[in-house]
């Protein structure tokens, strides 16, 4: 792998930037791999990278039906934070946050991770109480957090309507200053390039059509390019996890929903942080390019079509205009949907399955992007050893039978 550097940029300028090395190969599938990852999004590519880099498993394939990072990795609103309430999830997301902080150097790829701060607004007394509790829990878990009152919020976010005359007056906010945003595509491409350099085969345009089993144990995947053998198989297919589970012969406690997002025309810098509100229900940040990146809740019905309905868009923009009247005349440029696999307790499933040697990493729902490095790291550890990583253990599928749920719904600033 040709390393990227300022000097390299200078050197390539002399040849009109026409001789950059390809970022990854386009290999032919080998007959057998030690580990097959199904799904070439951020989480899958991160898993492959950490398998090769940290856990010494280099005979790895990533099988992707479309192109790398073309699903939810390309469709999210790029927010990164780790201010979750419960110990299990706070530790998992904080693990990811620590990896984010060194990721660009680690991958030799600028993922444009910008710790500009994430605000979660409070509009009711109950919001304030819940937020105070969450900030305290965060601090006990080593996650930074502060609780602000309305006056401090108005000082820090001057363009936010903090007056008493709004329908849902702002009473305060939490802020995680280490939170922020990252360039979503760069995350997928950075992991892909670094994994490829370590010998991982990235197989695009390869759709898994079934799992081959021998005596009930998975031994590989059937694809549109033929059978590919794998000693262990990890499935990281987000919205399509329910479909994958069906192919493997079991069910998951998941429902797939469209989650929409939209961006405005590029405007001059106005929002220098990430601002989220659960009660009014919307979140917004501004990309480095200048467009406002906006999202809110899922469409309520099940869907795999990567698009949603207009009422959801209207609801989203109502929330944004309620909080930021200054933006009421900004025009929206593009709108899209991704398919999120929501679990009953709003926490992921990182787990063994009823099929031996088949592992699933799914159920990240509306908030998987922020966890990309941590998710990949713990899943890689689990696939390498055949035993779940300690941070992943509480997220086993059997919690929906034992009742040991990690109830982050509403608890964790989750804006569903």
């Amino acid at each position: 792998m040709q390393r990227y550097s300022g000097f390299g940029l200078f050197k390539h300028a002399f040849s009109h930037h026409e001789n950059w090395q390809r970022m990854w190969r386009n290999p032919t599938p080998k007959p057998v791999y030690d580990v097959i990852i199904v799904g070439g999004g951020g989480h899958g590519l991160a898993t492959a990278y950490y398998l090769a880099k940290v856990f010494g498993v280099k005979n790895v394939a990533v099988v992707e039906k479309g192109w790398l990072g073309g699903g939810n990795t390309a469709r999210n609103t790029t927010i990164v934070r780790s201010n979750y309430l419960w110990d299990e999830s706070a530790q998992l997301y904080e693990h990811a946050m620590k990896l984010w902080e060194g990721l660009s150097q680690d991958l030799n790829y600028n993922v444009m991770f910008s710790q500009r701060g994430v605000y979660n607004l409070c509009h009711t007394l109950q919001d304030m109480r819940d937020s105070e509790r969450r900030v305290s829990a965060n601090r006990l878990n080593g996650v930074d957090g502060e609780l602000l009152d309305a006056r401090q919020v108005a000082e820090e976010i001057p363009y936010l309507d903090c007056s008493k005359n709004t329908r849902y007056p702002i009473m305060g906010s939490t802020v995680q200053r280490r939170g922020g945003v990252a360039r979503h595509d760069a995350v997928a491409w950075g992991y892909a390039r670094a994994a490829d350099a370590l010998g991982v085969d990235l197989l695009q345009q390869t759709e898994v059509t079934g799992f081959r089993k021998e005596n009930g144990v998975v031994i590989g995947v059937e694809t549109n390019r033929g059978f590919i053998g794998g000693k262990r198989v990890g499935v990281v297919t987000a919205g399509n996890s329910g479909h994958m589970a069906k192919l493997a012969g079991f069910r998951l406690p998941l429902e797939s929903h469209p989650l929409q997002a939209l961006v405005s025309e590029p405007i001059k810098p106005v929002i220098d942080s990430v601002i989220m509100s659960n009660a009014v229900h919307g979140y917004i940040s501004q990309s480095d390019k200048g467009d406002l990146v906006i999202g809110a809740g899922i469409d309520g019905w099940n869907g795999y079509g990567q698009r949603g309905s207009y009422p959801t868009i209207e609801h989203t923009l109502q929330a944004i205009v309620e909080m930021f009247p200054v933006l009421s005349r900004v025009r929206m440029n593009r709108q899209w949907g991704g398919i999120v696999d929501t679990s009953p307790d709003a926490c992921p499933i990182i787990s063994k399955t009823p099929v031996p040697n088949l592992f699933f990493n799914c159920g990240w729902g509306t908030g998987g992007f922020k966890a990309t490095p941590g998710s990949g790291h713990v899943f890689a550890a689990s696939l390498a050893k055949g035993e779940m990583h300690p941070l992943a253990k509480p997220f086993a599928m059997d919690r929906f039978h034992t009742g040991a749920l990690i109830d982050e719904h509403g608890a964790a600033a989750v804006a569903h």
């Binding site: 399509n240 329910g242 479909h243 069906k246 069910r251 998951l252 406690p253 998941l254 429902e255 797939s256 309520g300 019905w301 099940n302 869907g303 795999y304 079509g305 309905s309 207009y310 009422p311 696999d341 009953p344 929906f400 039978h401 034992t402 009742g403």
Partner: protein, 108 residues
């Protein structure tokens, strides 16, 4: 935007009047106390979540406030039918597969 025919009102109305409640035809165990943890967990949490034909429960929350079922495709979002609680769907995964096969001139 989905336009949904409410079988109680007899009218096609906009999606905004309705609320989706997920998979339909889930039967509550007769004796919950006798269920194993697996059976109860399956009943409460586990869903088919198909990519294709989906039978689902809806409520006309902004209208007559009655529940009904719908058969909908989860990729095209096409609604094939809506029917009252207690009735059986006429469009199923099997019936669509059969119709597709006959349209292509394939005989079983």
């Amino acid at each position: 935007m989905l336009n949904i025919f409410c079988p109680h009102c007899g009218e096609t109305r906009s999606e905004e009047e309705f609320h989706a409640h997920g998979q339909a035809h889930i039967v509550r165990p007769e004796n919950p106390a006798e269920c194993s943890d697996e059976e109860w967990g399956d009943y409460i949490f586990f869903r088919d979540n198909p990519r294709g034909i989906h039978h689902e429960l809806w409520v006309h929350s902004g209208g007559c406030r009655k529940f009904f079922n719908a058969t909908r495709h989860t990729v095209t979002y096409e609604i094939y039918e809506t029917y009252k609680i207690g009735e059986k769907p006429s469009v199923t995964e099997a019936s669509v597969a059969a119709a597709k096969a006959s349209a292509q001139g394939v005989t079983a």
